[in-house]
């Protein structure tokens, strides 16, 4: 918040004008969310450190996904959705004055629960779609396509059929294509909303490998229902919980080791040991 104030005083240099590169930190302060006037998320303070993987865990309907969508301004796409609070990307509030949602989303990419490659585009065009939307034409398209598909762990499987439609891939491959597509715009943060929930164990393992590989260059925030997955991929964990007729809150956030082996709150312990939710 203080940083966003300073950007107002100094000559306005929104991140869109001078995009930083490399992984960035995300700092959410006092985030609330409403759907059609109903409070669903209350007072979330959470810092997602640069180049780390943060897992958001908790039972269904506790506001994890809503929180994730607030982090890149996808929440406001839903009709009737409102929010309060600040989200600072390397100190600049993405909800600050003069910030454009499209620019924010370019820096903070997202992978959805259901694989959603563009069915009318080829595999290669899918990878390049984000760049095309931003009117960026890379000098060497093929190199970008290869680099991103390698990063997403898909290159070997599709290198001979880059011209095929994105929908011709299997579910797990589609999801990795979506990751490649999200990485191609070189985001500083990548949000993943249960990226493996529709996939088989092998595809899940591939995607987890991908997450570990990319974590150096992009900060990852992942929503997952899978405790083992949270343990395998994340360094930090935040446990969300919505008690009966209450909006969702963060019960506890700490390093993944602490959350799973030494939780402070008994509700966290119950949840990570599968006693409810």
């Amino acid at each position: 918040m203080t940083m966003s104030a300073s950007t107002l005083i100094s000559p306005p240099t929104p991140p869109s004008a001078q995009p930083g590169t490399g992984a960035a930190s995300l700092d959410a302060r006092g985030v609330h969310a409403w759907f059609s006037g109903r409070l669903v998320l209350e007072g979330v303070d959470l810092t997602m450190e640069r180049s780390s993987v943060t897992a958001l865990i908790g039972p269904s309907g506790c506001g994890k996904s809503t929180f994730l969508r607030i982090l890149n301004r996808m929440h406001e796409v839903v009709p009737g959705a409102q929010l309060a609070g600040t989200v600072a990307l390397d100190g600049v509030d993405i909800y600050g004055p003069g910030q454009r949602a499209a620019d924010t989303r370019r820096h903070i990419g997202m992978v959805f629960q259901k694989p959603n490659p563009f069915p009318a585009m080829s595999i290669a065009d899918n990878v390049l779609s984000g760049l095309r939307f931003s009117r960026i034409s890379p000098a060497d398209r093929d190199a970008v396509v290869e680099e991103m598909l390698v990063k997403a762990g898909l290159w070997k499987e599709v290198k001979d059929r880059l011209g095929e439609l994105g929908g011709a891939l299997s579910g797990g491959q589609q999801q990795r294509l979506c990751i490649a597509r999200a990485l191609a715009v070189r985001p500083r943060v990548l949000l993943m909303d249960e990226p493996c929930s529709a996939l088989d164990p092998t595809s899940t393992r591939r995607i987890e490998e991908t997450i570990r590989d990319i974590a150096d260059e992009v900060t990852v925030v992942i929503v997952t229902h899978n405790m083992q997955q949270a343990q395998r991929v994340s360094r930090h964990c935040a446990f969300f919980l919505a008690e009966e007729n209450q909006p969702g809150r963060v019960v506890e956030s700490a390093s993944t080791t602490d959350i799973f082996t030494n939780p402070v709150d008994p509700r966290t312990e119950d949840y990570v040991h599968g006693r409810f939710g």
Binding site: M74, V77, P119, A120, M121, G130, F133, G163, E164, A168
Partner: protein, 399 residues
Amino acid sequence: MSTTTLSPPPLGAAPVTPIRPPSPVRPRDFGMKDAALLALSALSALALVWVVFYQLTLLSGAFGFLVCWYAVFLAMYWLASAQMVDRMAASDRVVTVAVVTGAAVVIGLLLFVVLWVSFKAVPHFSWHLLTKDQKFFQILGPHALSSVGVAHAVVGTLEQVGMAALIGVPVAVATAVFLNEVGGRGTRLVRTVVTAMSGTPSVIAGVFIYSILIINHVLGYSGFAAALALFVLLLPLVTRTTEEVLRVVPSGLREASLALGASEWRTVWSVVLPTARSGVITAVLLGVARAAGETAPLLFTAFGSQVMNYNVFSHPQGALPLVVWSNVRQAEPVLVTLAFEAAFVLLVIVLVLFVAARVLGRTRTRGRRRGRTGNGRLFHRNAQPVPIDLPIDIGGNYR
């Protein structure tokens, strides 16, 4: 099934004789027995209805006979199937027969219209019909038909419909995008208006243009006035079908595009419309094909003409439907033949539009394997996201 496949292979040795694969069966195949049941039901129904309809009662008339025959046939078929299989299967079969009958009637009628027009037109067809107008029409003489043609009407129809599409399609697609992608206040009003508009009798569209523009001398009788009337008809049709097509584009694709930093119009332009491409093209060409066949709106706008008029903006212009309308009632066989030739040419134009819709609608991508995606089916067996097509190809053609 042969039992050899089930017996265990000999232990410790490769089987000496290769195991014969069992012959494949499809449990639901429609076999000879079922065909015989169907045919016998039809036959016995025919006999029964003939006795009751013509002999025992004083009823008469072919149409009534056919309806009764069909109803009795269904009942017979149900009874026979219930006897031979069971009641549930019987109901299934009767419904299947009823549905197939519906499809067969539609296809039969369509084929009948097309074949009948072709039968009347093709023997007299020659290419000069497409180069001459009706200026030198003469009633008598063995070569009366060789001195006339429908070229003026072909030019008129193409210009009027082309003009209507030129104005109408961008407006219609924009309206559909507004209804489905932009939304907000006014959506319901616009949708209601468009729906009401699509119910407008086509003659009203012509009267509208006539009374607003032609009576007030804003425009004379011209192809352009006809194009405006056709635009009024084409707009709601293309809007509604395009909206239907856009609605089935998964919202996940819009989210994916927005999450990549695309603006909303960019999302519509680069993701939603290309995904729905083949459906949108189908919607547009169906609307155009529909407009090409309209007669009533042309009567007092294009007005019709016997001579070639290339200028769409002034003076009356011919059109194929008008040639049909004005000539088919005449006493002169030459004129009646000319009407059928015009109808035939119109059918061919519409056919070309349909084929174009299918060809253009096909997604073109490098190295794409056919059959896996984009085969025009909306709900793919493997639930892969495929390019969206219109759910029913001719859905837009109904009122």
